[in-house]
């Protein structure tokens, strides 16, 4: 039986769709729906999570992420400029910092700043400060690499033109190069915020008071107190999507805009 290329392509598509449907059907049939229903999709018992998870959890997650991002952005910019510096010591420090903080789990950083540093220096920080520093220091490392790439993507002629107009190096960077670099890295930077949003959940390792709970802590608390199995965690997860999906769409919008125009 001879088929044209188009017919072959169509048959192949049907076969792929068939395999997918069979796989999904098998998965549905093999699932123990009663158990899953009780322990994961048990929405009848989650009432007590509200409105706390919304007015406290969601808000705290946003606040922690925002503070971490602000520190990360400032630190990241500083590190990126250090890494591009002509002074070797700055480059070494920045490279060391970036490799270290990108290489260790963020959880360790939270433990270090939540328990280690307060013990070592006899200070007691409040949770917000610890999140801000831990998240910020991890974010700095990632954002530094993103910004470095953005700074290098600005054509060299831009700096030359600015310097030729009599701008000192710092002024040319601040007024001409850095704004353009930020526009270039807006999409990856938005993705960075998404990662931070999720990493903010790591403060569960610290002791939190009720007003400091963020989404994940609400989920974990719900597991032990509501008797609805893992359902509370599922609810917390849904709230993360409420934050991250709009950010994702925003990143895509930035991407298509920068593809259209250089402005």
């Amino acid at each position: 039986m001879a088929m044209t290329a188009r017919q072959r392509a169509r048959v192949s598509l049907y076969v792929q769709a068939g395999i997918f449907i069979v796989a999904v059907a098998a998965l549905i049939l093999a699932t123990d729906w009663e158990t899953i229903g009780n322990s994961v999709f048990n929405f009848a018992k989650i009432g007590p999570m509200f409105p706390g998870i919304f007015v406290t959890g969601l808000v705290n997650t946003l606040v922690y992420t925002f503070l971490g991002f602000i520190v990360g952005l400032s630190g990241g910019l500083l590190l990126a400029l250090m890494k591009l510096s002509s002074f070797p010591l700055y480059r070494w420090i920045a490279t060391g910092y970036i490799e270290f903080f990108r290489g260790i789990p963020a959880l360790l950083v939270f433990i270090a700043f939540g328990y280690g540093v307060p013990l070592a220096f006899g200070v007691s920080w409040n949770v917000t400060v610890i999140v801000m520093i831990s998240l910020g220091m991890v974010a700095s490392a990632y954002i530094a690499e993103t910004l470095r790439a953005g700074l290098q993507a600005v054509p060299k002629g831009q700096l030359e033109a600015a310097r030729s107009l009599g701008m000192p190096q710092w002024r040319a960077m601040v007024t001409i190069v850095i704004p353009q670099a930020f526009k270039i890295v807006l999409p990856p930077l938005t993705n960075e915020i998404i990662l931070l949003t999720k990493d903010s959940s790591l403060i569960y390792v610290l002791g939190l008071t009720a007003s400091q709970y963020e989404l994940t802590k609400f989920g974990r608390d719900g597991i032990s107190s509501l008797g609805a199995g893992l359902t509370p965690l599922l609810v917390a997860g849904a709230f993360y999507l409420v934050i991250t999906i709009p950010l994702s769409l925003l990143a895509r919008k930035f991407e298509s805009r920068s593809a259209r125009t250089k402005r």
Binding site: Q158, S164, G166, I176, R263
Partner: protein, 266 residues
């Protein structure tokens, strides 16, 4: 140096500065691209630098405002000893306008802001005064009506004219042009050249790296032919382009000016 008082806001007469270059040398690693160049440009004079690519003419131009650091020799620009290690580079550069082959307009700013940004940030002019100067210079290059356009909304020739207006807005005493028409569509070259022609008439000191022999012949007071990092021949435009004496100059001009002579260069 005699300072001439001018009316404020760059709308007045041009106060032109001269350039003195003595035995200038520049190497990249072991590759010496400028092998002892001496060149004087009088205030108000227009000098065109011509020569094959790789002859060092762009490097020479870029040394004058220190975008390239010379290894040896001296450059004096309008009372500044550019090669003095203690020179205030930024202060010196304010007197030297630079126009690039690739325009290098700031893409995140509109035409007017391109012209005003350095005025407000460097010269500390008020935004209102800077805007006035910017508009004056945009009109001077025939683009007053496009002041609110962004660079990506302008043609190459228009972008280059904005770049000239941007440089003029700093009230320079000397203008450097690095192949200002080489990246342009042929039909927009004329507008840029006529802006430069007017500037020359107004008495601006101009140092122009160019392949536009017609422009050099018409506008330049002097033409300097460079090859292999040295000045091979210099003199009035009519002589260097019309009746060159050096074999290398003759050969270069024969290639540039004779459209029927086809030769593939690497």
């Amino acid at each position: 140096m005699n300072d001439v008082v001018r009316s404020s806001g760059g709308t007045g007469t041009i106060h032109a500065a001269g350039v003195e270059i003595k035995d200038l040398r520049k190497s990249y690693g072991s590759n010496e691209v400028l092998k002892g160049i001496s060149l004087d440009v009088a205030p108000g004079e227009v000098v065109c630098l011509i020569g094959p690519s790789g002859s060092g003419k762009s490097t020479l131009l870029r040394c004058v405002n220190l975008l390239e650091q010379p290894n040896q020799g001296s450059i004096q620009v309008g009372g500044f000893e550019a090669t003095d290690p203690d020179v205030d580079i930024d202060k010196m550069r304010r007197k030297v306008g630079m126009v690039f082959q690739q325009f290098n307009l700031f893409p995140h700013l509109d035409a007017k802001r391109n012209c005003s940004i350095a005025q407000t940030k460097v010269l500390k002019r008020s935004q209102a005064e800077a805007d006035k100067v910017s508009m004056h210079n945009l009109e001077r290059v025939g683009l007053g009506h496009l002041a609110d356009r962004f660079p990506d909304q302008l043609s190459g020739g228009q972008q280059q004219r904005v770049a000239i207006a941007r440089a003029l807005s700093m009230d320079p005493e000397l203008m450097l042009f690095d192949e200002p028409t080489s990246a342009l569509d042929p039909e927009t070259v004329g507008d840029v050249l006529s802006v430069m022609r007017n500037l020359a008439k107004e008495g601006m000191t101009m140092l122009v790296v160019t392949h536009e022999m017609g422009f050099a012949r018409e506008v330049a007071d002097r033409v300097v032919f460079m090859d292999g990092g040295v000045v091979v021949e210099e003199g009035v435009a009519e002589q260097v382009i019309g009746a060159p004496t050096q074999p290398r100059t003759k050969e270069f001009l024969r290639r540039v000016l004779d459209p029927t002579h086809i030769e593939i260069e690497e």
